[in-house]
């Protein structure tokens, strides 16, 4: 039934993979659990604001926030509201949009097949009217207002705007109240038709299933017309003028994403005024994007995450120092690597954010230039790698985390078990390569503070 099975013996986990009506499907059998989970991933996110639709030759620019807007609108159907339809059969549904993906999901204990059919309808059958678009502008306007008031969300948005000049990651996922006003039903149809194609989507299912049973549910949930919806008439000829396939063969091509060329430099530090009792700080470093999809991207992300933990984690000398001085309470570090952009981030609250940020940047410089400190990193590296390997084991307790990692890695030609292998095989050199790239001149600092603050 499945094309192949991914497995790991020490974890005792298996993921079955198959193409079902053109859609890549993953099944994670989880014996003994009552909950059944399904998530549809569309490789389409807030970054995809400029693209050439399949079958066309001219690029289209769409307003920021449209992928998220589309996600909201997919729950409205000619027959009513899909949330209620899920509720009626005992399932709980949700959806979210990130920079690179849109996801639709539900979990249920009963009526799994019916709920999966509904989920596929939510993702695959668009229905937009002028009125319903106008209505959503009000609701999403409130959602944007909520993020505007949230100092943590503001911190991220301002940092991305400061870090990037051109890349669309600098725009908020939800867009702005102004940008979403430009969204029309025609634009929504265009985006849906361009990106919501089986070849650009996958589905992940987890629960107490036999794999063949799960694939059967998926096959039944998908309309038979799926493969023929996107036929040759949509596609452009190959560059040499030839047709890549015969007229009857379905063509599952994807739109061409256009990303502006992003310079290596970063913008100015920022200060934002919101009524917060303690200033919030975000330091972000722009790194070189790996440029290609695949193992290098993942290795870069894992190595950098470990590096940030080594330098600033709770077991670091640096953390103890700044904590005991009362400079900072909690620090969060993250690193994101995508083929076309990558950056490191650090978040915290500090009564003296300027001083704190200077200490952070100086710490990176000291470690980088002092051969003794550099050599001393090896022990921390092994310990933190061990800690990461342990967390890799427990992530398999979370259906949705496994699904998200597996779906994203599949699009990079990897899978969740190769994630474990790459983690195991990481070396100090991988980490040091990232350390060399944490440069002061490629960092930005954003501070959110109360307007009436007194500078220390």
């Amino acid at each position: 039934m499945s094309d192949y099975c991914l497995r790991n013996d020490s974890l005792r986990e298996e993921i079955y993979v198959s193409k079902v009506k053109g859609l890549t499907a993953f099944v994670l059998p989880k014996k003994g659990f009552r909950k059944k989970y399904a998530e549809v991933f569309v490789h389409y996110g807030s970054n995809d604001n400029s693209f050439i639709p399949p079958g066309e030759t001219e690029p289209v620019d769409v307003p920021p926030g449209i992928a998220h807007f589309l996600e909201h609108k997919m729950f409205e159907k000619p027959w009513g509201d899909a949330f209620s339809a899920f509720a009626k059969i005992g399932a709980s549904a949700n959806a979210y949009t990130t920079n690179n993906y849109t996801s639709y999901l539900f979990w249920t204990l009963e009526n799994f097949g019916e709920a999966l059919k509904l989920l596929m309808q939510v993702a695959l059958d668009p229905y937009f009217t002028k009125e319903s678009v106008a209505k959503e502008q009000g609701i999403i306007g409130q959602e944007i207002g909520m993020y505007d008031d949230d100092p943590g969300a503001r911190l991220v948005r301002e940092a991305m705007e400061a870090l990037y000049f051109k890349h669309p990651v600098r725009f908020d996922i939800a867009g702005t109240k102004e940008s979403i006003r430009q969204i029309t039903d025609e634009l929504l149809y265009k985006c849906h038709r361009s990106f919501y194609r089986p070849s650009n989507m996958s589905v992940f299912v987890a629960g107490d299933f036999a794999p063949h049973e799960a694939f059967e549910y998926i096959a039944q949930a998908l309309p038979d017309s799926l493969l023929t919806r996107y036929t040759r008439s949509d596609t452009c000829p190959a560059p040499d003028g030839s047709q890549s396939s015969s007229p009857d063969t379905p063509v599952l091509d994807i739109p061409q994403r256009i990303r502006p060329l992003e310079p290596p430099e970063v913008g100015e530090d920022r200060e934002v005024f919101l009524p917060v009792p303690t200033p919030l700080i975000h330091i972000a470093w722009k790194d070189d994007p790996p440029g290609v999809i695949g193992e290098d991207t993942l290795r870069q992300e894992l190595a950098a995450s470990i590096l940030l933990d080594m330098l600033f984690g709770r077991s670091s000398a640096f953390f103890t120092e700044v904590y005991e001085e009362g400079l900072v309470d909690d620090l969060h570090c993250t690193y994101e690597a995508w083929p076309d952009y990558s950056h490191a981030s650090m978040f915290g609250q500090s009564a003296s954010p300027e001083e704190f940020s200077e200490r952070v940047l100086r710490e990176v410089e000291t470690v980088n230039s002092d051969p003794k400190r550099r050599a001393g990193l090896e022990e921390d590296f092994l310990r933190i790698k061990k800690s990461n390997l342990g967390r890799y084991v427990t992530l398999f307790d979370s259906f949705d985390t496994v699904g998200e990692i597996q779906a994203h890695l599949h699009d990079m030609g990897l899978n969740i078990f190769s994630y474990g292998d790459i983690l195991r095989n990481l070396t100090m050199d991988d980490v040091l390569a990232r350390l060399d790239n944490l440069r002061r001149e490629r960092s930005v600092r954003v501070i959110v503070r109360d307007r009436d603050h007194k500078k220390k």
């Binding site: 249920t108 505007d148 077991s315 310990r383 084991v393």
Partner: protein
């Protein structure tokens, strides 16, 4: 494990007022142990005890520095440590916990031994966090105490960074009308200044000696851990009272206000948050309590609820518009994030829904969807370690049903008439608005 069989903890007593609840279940790759100390809320102790989890994480006798603890956790394959104070009903619940990967799944060829992944060792670590903090001359070290007091102050003040949470906290404060049992788990801001390192330790050691303690453990080997705990006796800083019972603390919630209370604060921003407290004095244990659970579900507990459909979808006033149920207070709290100029309109639309339920405007579909949603919630709890622990711990404190079968059976019996009867009792007790714009749209 048969997945249709109900998942429940086995309980044994391991001392006066100390119970050990364990669940041997191989579905998860995570092992977890949580120690809960249940202290009845009082103004005198709540704030100092709220500092205890913070101070515990700074260092213990065996692992005196922050860094020692963090390194130890990393050596235990990235084990997670938890220490916090929450509130269940009238009880301040102080938790010390650890979760770690089960050694069965950790590849032994890697990075040395798995010896650190040992339940007894994990239990000692958690118990040390709870009972043997690093002290100097019988008190928390002065400098650590000062840092943690300051950070705790910032945490309390920082609640305002989340407007919806802040608005809910303020609404609860308004309806509590100064009653000590209504105080939040983090204590009282202005009491922080009066605390000192020695007094805080003495308060905590006293609470450890006199409060009921529950230990929850999940994963392979937890039964054996129970046997070890029965053989050895847990050590306490002050000798433990022999009269401590695990019984419930019978503290009544703050009396409900007789008339509707109104309160507003102004915090500049984009969004106004409207919060409303609804209650008919029906709490856990009352025969109509299951109908109140339905009331909450139909009004705002789900995306199929009246508030989502009317406040959000029909009137487009909000992105979030929902309710939550506080079973100890018997209170349904409605929250909506709206444009400031829509405040009156939103309040009217919410009250329309409240009135509709009073007049019996509840469809079969609303009843069915709510029942389905509740069933899904109860039945799926057996898949989650955290949800199971919360359910059993809440039952220990609040009473009411503990098993899934009991939870399910009581909501199967609820009819539309029951919900309407509850709706007739419900009154608007308080309205709180955190307003984003100053004085523009007001009288």
């Amino acid at each position: 494990m048969e997945h249709n069989k109900e998942t429940r903890f086995e309980t044994i007593s391991i001392g006066p007022g100390i119970s050990y609840h364990y669940l041997t279940d191989d579905r998860w790759k995570t092992l977890s142990i949580d120690v809960f100390c249940k202290v009845p809320i009082s103004r005198e102790t709540v704030t100092s005890i709220a500092l205890v989890p913070r101070l515990a994480k700074r260092g213990t006798v065996g692992l005196p520095a922050l860094r020692d603890i963090s390194r130890q956790l990393e050596e235990m394959y990235g084990a997670g440590m938890g220490a916090d104070a929450t509130k269940i009903g009238p009880v301040q619940v102080i938790r010390f916990g650890i979760d770690m990967p089960s050694p069965d799944y950790v590849d032994s060829n890697l990075l040395g031994s798995k010896d650190g992944l040992n339940l007894a060792k994990a239990m000692s670590f958690v118990w040390e966090l709870a009972t043997r903090p690093y002290l100097v001359n019988g008190a928390y070290p002065e400098d650590r105490f000062e840092t943690e007091r300051e950070e705790h102050r910032r945490d309390i003040l920082g609640i305002i960074n989340n407007r919806a949470r802040y608005a809910t906290v303020r609404l609860v404060e308004v309806v509590s009308q100064g009653e000590p049992s209504g105080l939040p788990a983090w204590g009282v801001l202005e009491d922080l200044d009066d605390l000192n390192p020695r007094g805080t330790w003495v308060t905590w050691a006293g609470a450890l000696a006199s409060s009921p303690i529950s230990i929850y453990a999940v994963g392979k080997g937890v039964r054996e851990l129970g046997e070890i705990l029965q053989r050895t006796s847990l050590e306490f800083p002050f000798s433990r009272f022999f009269s401590v019972q695990g019984h419930r603390t019978n503290i009544a919630p703050p009396p409900l206000p007789e008339t509707t209370l109104y309160q507003e604060d102004f915090l500049p921003g984009e969004q106004t948050v409207l919060c409303m407290a609804l209650s008919g004095g029906i709490t856990e244990g009352h025969p109509d309590f299951p109908a109140l659970i339905f009331y909450d579900g139909i009004l705002g507990g789900f995306p199929h609820s009246k508030m989502f459909r009317n406040v959000r979808e029909r009137e487009q006033l909000a992105y979030f518009a929902d309710t939550s149920l506080n079973s100890w207070r018997g209170m349904v709290i409605a929250v909506a994030g709206i444009a400031d100029e829509d405040k009156e309109r939103a309040q009217d639309v919410i009250m329309e829904q409240v009135e509709a339920m009073k007049s019996g405007d509840i469809s079969d579909e609303e009843m069915d969807n709510t029942r389905a949603g509740l069933l899904r919630r109860y039945r799926s709890e057996s898949d989650s370690q955290g949800a199971l622990i919360r359910r059993f711990l809440t039952q220990e404190i609040m009473g009411g049903p503990a098993t899934e079968a009991e939870l399910v059976s009581r909501i199967m019996k609820v009819t539309k008439d029951d919900v309407v009867r509850v709706a007739e009792e419900v009154q608007l007790k308080a309205v709180y608005a955190l307003r984003a714009k100053e004085g523009i749209h007001r009288e």
